[in-house]
């Protein structure tokens, strides 16, 4: 399948400051990419390059086989960037109507408002909306052109819990329709739940690219808890174990090689009760990776 986005050794800098360096990225139709990284890692710059708002200094970058920012790519892309549009004197419906007229396969504004449960806000002025409501309108603006590719930069900031749930339901529906999405968010559980692939940017370079499961394989920190009468010292020398604590019958084992430790626990299973294994979440791994604990 032909990739939608192809980046080869992309570099971008502001003067002497290198923001992105040696970025290789291939994204195929229907994929959801979770773009994560610390503040200033280069996520927004990468999105700006993909949108054609900035120009690649070195390397090659194509979107829909075109240079970023071409008419064809603009027609197929919907973007929800960090800034909303609190324009004075403009209603939600006015804004969507202006956007809809620009795209060849646009959705009907009234239908989209109804689908996103925004109909009650249709006649409200944009500058009178709350932060979360504005974010939802920005999402509607990203969808109005019925795009094949969506860029969602911190999409749920300011949304209340209900709005967030509705947003992710919508994202799953779009995923089922085969839409391609690049999502950046600091709420990593959201990314973990929907992304097919994680792309971790660190200091302008891609530090990891793959599935969350592959990332977990690479980073095997686990916490094992159980109840046992065996002494703590029994487990100290098992492979990968970094710490063992025991309070009464409650035992807690920390390991940096989860699979090896679990394998070594098999002979003791008859004497272990209520065994629970907690693998690191994306957020935990992110913290370790960005602190440089794992290369």
């Amino acid at each position: 399948m032909k990739p939608i986005i192809q980046a080869t050794q992309v570099q971008f800098n502001y003067g002497a400051q290198v923001v992105l360096s040696g970025v290789d990225l291939t994204i195929h139709p229907g994929e959801i990419i979770g773009l994560i990284g610390e503040n200033g890692a280069g996520k927004t710059t990468l999105l700006n390059l993909l949108l054609g708002l900035r120009t690649v200094k070195q390397g090659q970058l194509t979107v829909f086989d075109q240079r970023p920012g071409s008419m064809i790519s603009k027609q197929k892309i919907g973007s929800m960037l960090q800034g909303d549009l609190p324009i004075r004197g403009v209603t939600v419906k006015d804004m969507l109507e202006l956007a809809a007229v620009q795209y060849p396969n646009a959705l009907k504004p009234t239908d989209l408002l109804a689908e996103l449960e925004l109909t009650p806000l249709a006649k409200r002025r944009l500058n009178a909306l709350s932060g979360g409501q504005l974010r939802r309108v920005t999402f509607a603006l990203a969808l109005i052109g019925n795009p094949d590719l969506l860029f969602l930069d911190e999409p749920t900031v300011g949304m209340d819990t209900n709005a967030q749930q509705a947003f992710w339901q919508r994202i799953n529906a779009l995923k089922a329709q085969g839409k391609t999405m690049i999502i950046t968010s600091h709420y990593l559980p959201e990314i973990q739940a929907v992304a097919d692939r994680i792309c971790l940017l660190q200091k302008g370079q891609i530090a990891f690219q793959g599935t969350f499961q592959a990332l977990q394989q690479q980073y095997q920190q686990v916490e094992i808890t159980c109840q046992t009468a065996l002494p703590a010292a029994t487990f100290m020398d098992l492979p990968g174990v970094t710490a063992v604590t025991k309070t009464g019958l409650q035992l807690q084992i920390s390991s940096e090689a989860g699979d090896a430790t679990l394998g070594a626990l098999v002979p003791f299973l008859a004497q272990l009760k209520q065994v629970a294994v907690k693998r690191e979440s994306l957020a935990d791994i992110f913290v370790h990776l960005t602190k440089g604990a794992v290369a």
Binding site: N48, L51, G52, L53, R54, T55, M71, K74, Q75, I77, S79, L81, G83, D84, L85, P86, I87, R88, G89, V90, D94, M95, E97, L98, A99, V101, Q102, Y103, P104, L141
Partner: protein, 252 residues
Amino acid sequence: MKTWLVQLKFDGRRLILRNFSFQFFSILMPAGFYLLFTKVMVTGNVPTSFNLKYMASMMVYSGTINALFGIASILLRDRETGILQWSRLTPAGVKPYYLSIGCWSLLMNVLAVLVLGTIAVIVNHVDLTFGQWLSIGGIAILGQVPTLLLGVLMSFVSRAETLSVLSNVITFPMAIISGLWWPISMLPNWLQPIGKLMPTYFVNDWLGRVATHGTLVKTDIWGTGVWIVGMLAIVLCGVQLLLKRSDGVVSA
């Protein structure tokens, strides 16, 4: 075309219908000035020629205020609220946006001509032929182009505070020394030649001559033309330079 028409409707609502301050400063304030200086603060019979020339001055003043205060601040605010970036990402790009803003600015100038003309006819009983009114409308629109382009250029300053200072520093001295508030002959001798180089002077003089059946002078036409071409060149080069320096993104 359809995109531009929808953009025109969109901007008309937000910039004109739902924006009283724009209407006030572009139309009502010059109209108030006209009434004040031709009806309230005068004694005895006011010559018809003064009523006509002051009407022309207020038409130019309206266009100048509209461009250097109204349009410049609207463009800056739009850049700050993200409309410009949003427009850049749409298939039609920023052209319909700038065309629409420019059209509304010129249309507001036509409206100012209509309002000031109506007041001049009803209150000061001025009597002009249809051809004169048509010429006045056309010259007023043409004469606003240099200040409109100057407004576009000013909107690229980085802060609203800077723009406010710039608008005040340029608009009022330019209005005064080019003879929009009172006759240029009342200014000191050393200042008059400078005033006569201002774009507002050329168009004001041109309008005044058309309104009073005066002799048209080529310098008014040439002066306006040179300002239009010069400002267009500066704006186009300036925007290109800004886009290049900022790597394609002119953001707040």
